[in-house]
C-alpha cells in the first residue's frame, strides 16, 4: 500500500464489496416452491410459506428499527393489526379495491407510527419496550371493542381484495407470487434505506447516539422517521395477512404476537435483513411441525427458543457464517 497525495481520492483500495449471496439463494428457493409443489411436495407448504413470507415482511420491517436502529419495539404487531383491520373493514364495507385499501393502510400506519413514535422515542431501554407494548395493547383493546366488526370474535371476510377490478388474489399460486414480489420489494427498499445516508446515521446512532448528535444530527427525528417507515411496511404485511386468512382478529395485534416478531428477528440474526426472513420462515415451520405432533407444542417450542438464544449468537445467519455460508466481516 502506498500513501497517495491529498489530491488523489481513495488512496487505499477498499475491501471487495460483499454480495448478498444468501439472500439471492433464499429468494430463488422461494420462487421455485410452487414448482416443487407441482412435483409432489405437500400442497399445504404453499399456504404455509405464503403465511411465513407475510410474517417475514413484518419481521423485516421490525429489523429496520430493532436491528439497525437498536429500538426494541414490543408493539410492532399493532401495525400488522391496523393493516389487517383496515383491509377487513373496507372489504366488509364493499371497498375491496387494493388501490383504495393500501393508501388508507399506509396513511393510518404512518399516523399511528408518528404519534406513538413521537411519545415513545422520548424514552430509552426498558421504558421504550413498555411504552410500545402499551400502545400495542391499546389498539388490541380497541379492536376488541369494535362490536360492529366482530369484536372479540374477529371478522370473517367473504372476499379478497381486487386489483383494478380483477381478483388475482383468488389463485393460490398467483397470491404466493404476489406475496413473494411484495417481500422482495420490501427487502430491496429496506436494503437501500440501510445503505443510504439516512441508514448510516440510524445505525451509527444505535452504537453511539452522543457521537451522532455532536456530529450534527438530530437523533430523535431520524429514529422517528425510521419508526414510521417500519410501521408502514408492517401495515402492508397486515393487508396481505387479512387477504390470506380471509379473517381478522384482535389476536393479530396482541403483545405475544409482537414478541413473536421480535423472536423471528433474533432467530434469523439481528440487523442482517435477510435474517429476519429466514427467522420468520424457520419460526412458522417449527410451529407447523411441532403443532402437528402434539397440541401441547408450546411446551417444546418455548424451551427450544431459550436454548437457541443461549447457544447461537447472531441467529441462523450467524450460524451459517460460522459454517462458512454467506458473508464474513
Amino acid at each position: 500500500m502506498s500513501l497517495a497525495s491529498a489530491a488523489v481520492p481513495a488512496p487505499v483500495t477498499a475491501p471487495a464489496r460483499r454480495r448478498p449471496l444468501v439472500a439471492i439463494a433464499l429468494f430463488a428457493l422461494l420462487a421455485l416452491l410452487p414448482v416443487a409443489v407441482s412435483l409432489g411436495l405437500p400442497a399445504h407448504w404453499l399456504t404455509l410459506v405464503t403465511r411465513a413470507m407475510i410474517f417475514a415482511i413484518a419481521a423485516l420491517s421490525l429489523d429496520l428499527i430493532l436491528g439497525v436502529g437498536g429500538l426494541v419495539s414490543f408493539g410492532h404487531a399493532a401495525f400488522v393489526g391496523i393493516g389487517a383491520y383496515v383491509t377487513g373493514i373496507m372489504i366488509t364495507e364493499g371497498r375491496s379495491e387494493i388501490m383504495l385499501i393500501l393508501p388508507v393502510v399506509l396513511a393510518l400506519c404512518a399516523l399511528f407510527g408518528a404519534v406513538t413514535g413521537f411519545v415513545s422515542l422520548r424514552t430509552r431501554g426498558v421504558t421504550f419496550i413498555m411504552i410500545t407494548l402499551a400502545f400495542g395493547q391499546m389498539v388490541y383493546f380497541l379492536a376488541q371493542a369494535l362490536s360492529a366488526y366482530g369484536g372479540d370474535d374477529g371478522l370473517t371476510l367473504y372476499e379478497r381484495s381486487t386489483v383494478l377490478g380483477f381478483d388475482p388474489f383468488r389463485n393460490r399460486i398467483g397470491f404466493f407470487y404476489l406475496v413473494l414480489g411484495v417481500l422482495l420489494a420490501c427487502y430491496g427498499l429496506v436494503s437501500v434505506i440501510v445503505a443510504s445516508r439516512f441508514g448510516r446515521v440510524l445505525g451509527a446512532a444505535r452504537e453511539n447516539a452522543t457521537r451522532v448528535a455532536v456530529t450534527g444530527f438530530h437523533v430523535g427525528r431520524i429514529r422517528l422517521v425510521a419508526y414510521v417507515i417500519s410501521g408502514m411496511i408492517a401495515g402492508v404485511s397486515g393487508f396481505l395477512l387479512a387477504n390470506q386468512t380471509e379473517f381478522v382478529s384482535p389476536a393479530y395485534m396482541s403483545w405475544p404476537r409482537s414478541g413473536e416478531l421480535i423472536f423471528m428477528v433474533v432467530l434469523g440474526g439481528v440487523g442482517s435483513l435477510h435474517g429476519a426472513i429466514i427467522g420468520a420462515l424457520a419460526f412458522l415451520f417449527a410451529e407447523d411441525v411441532l403443532s402437528g405432533w402434539t397440541e401441547h407444542w408450546k411446551v417444546i417450542f418455548g424451551p427450544m427458543i431459550v436454548l437457541f438464544v443461549l447457544f447461537t449468537r447472531g441467529g441462523l445467519v450467524g450460524l451459517m457464517r460460522k459454517l462458512g455460508v454467506g458473508r464474513h466481516d
Partner: protein, 254 residues
C-alpha cells in the same frame, strides 16, 4: 483559514455557573478563545474541566451565564445545532462508531454538512462527494493506511486521531479537545502532539489536558481551573510562575 489576525474571539464564556446539588462544578467561569488560538485548560482531577466542555458542546445546560460562539448566543442550543454551526469536540473517553470503518466514521461528519444529510435512497458508502472530503481529513491526521479498518479495531491513539478527523470534517470554527492524550502511549502521544501542532493556527482550539509537557509546548494561553473556578489565565510562562497555580496544581504533580 487566515482569520487568525481577527481580534474578535470565536468562543466567549461569561459568568458560567453549574451546580450538581450543593457541589459547584462551574463557578463563574469566564474565558475566551480567539481564532487560531490554542487555549489550554488545566486543573487537578475533579476541577470541572469535562463538565465545562459538556456545557460548551451543549450536552449539559449551565445554570446561569452565557456561551457565545461566532458572535451568537448558543447557550440554549442543542448539541447538533452547535455542531452544525461549526463547534466540534472530541471526548475524554474516545467516542467513535465502532462497527463503521475509519472512512465511514469520517464521512459521517462530511454528511452532516452535505446538502442532503439524510437522503433515504442514495447509497452512502460509494458517494464520492462524501468520501473525498473524508479522505482529506483522514490524510490530515495520518490514518490513510488504516482507512478501511473498523473504528472498533483501532489502537487507542488511532481512535484519538480518528475523533480529530471527525471534528475536522465539520469545518469547525472551534474544536474542543477533552484530554486527547489520556491513556495514549509515548510514541502515539508524540504523534498526536505533532498532529495538534499541525492544526494550530488554523482552528481555535480549547484543549483540556493533563500532560503538562504537551500543554506548555502547544498552548498560546493557559487557564487553570480549580474547584470550578479559573484561578489563573495567561501565557504559559506567567501561568507557570503563578504562585497560586504552583500551590494548587503544579506542585502536586512534582
Amino acid at each position: 483559514m487566515t482569520d487568525a489576525t481577527m481580534a474578535e474571539p470565536v468562543l466567549v464564556l461569561s459568568g458560567l455557573n453549574k451546580a450538581f446539588g450543593a457541589l459547584k462544578v462551574t463557578d463563574g467561569v469566564a474565558l475566551s478563545v480567539a481564532p487560531g488560538e490554542l487555549h489550554a485548560l488545566i486543573g487537578p482531577n475533579g476541577a470541572g474541566k469535562t463538565t465545562l466542555v459538556h456545557q460548551i458542546s451543549g450536552m449539559l445546560r449551565p445554570d446561569t451565564g452565557s456561551i457565545r460562539f461566532k458572535g451568537q448566543n448558543i447557550t440554549a442550543l442543542p448539541p447538533e445545532k452547535r455542531a452544525r454551526a461549526g463547534l466540534a469536540r472530541t471526548f475524554q473517553i474516545t467516542s467513535t462508531i465502532p462497527s463503521l470503518s475509519v472512512l465511514e466514521n469520517v464521512a459521517l461528519g462530511v454528511q452532516a454538512r452535505a446538502a442532503q444529510p439524510l437522503a433515504l435512497f442514495r447509497n452512502a458508502a460509494r458517494d464520492e462527494s462524501l468520501n473525498r472530503p473524508a479522505w482529506a481529513a483522514i490524510e490530515a491526521v495520518g490514518l490513510t493506511e488504516r482507512a478501511h479498518v473498523l473504528a472498533g479495531r483501532l489502537s487507542h491513539g488511532e481512535k484519538r486521531a480518528l475523533e480529530i478527523a471527525m471534528a475536522l470534517t465539520l469545518e469547525p470554527a472551534a474544536i474542543l479537545l477533552d484530554e486527547p492524550l489520556a491513556g495514549v502511549g509515548r510514541a502515539e502521544g508524540e504523534r498526536l502532539i505533532a498532529l495538534l501542532a499541525s492544526l494550530k493556527g488554523r482552528y481555535a482550539m480549547l484543549l483540556v489536558e493533563h500532560d503538562m509537557e504537551a500543554v506548555f509546548a502547544l498552548a498560546d494561553t493557559v487557564s487553570v481551573l480549580v474547584y470550578g473556578r479559573v484561578i489563573a489565565s495567561g501565557d504559559p510562562a506567567s501561568v507557570r510562575a503563578d504562585p497560586a497555580v504552583r500551590e494548587a496544581y503544579l506542585g502536586e504533580e512534582g
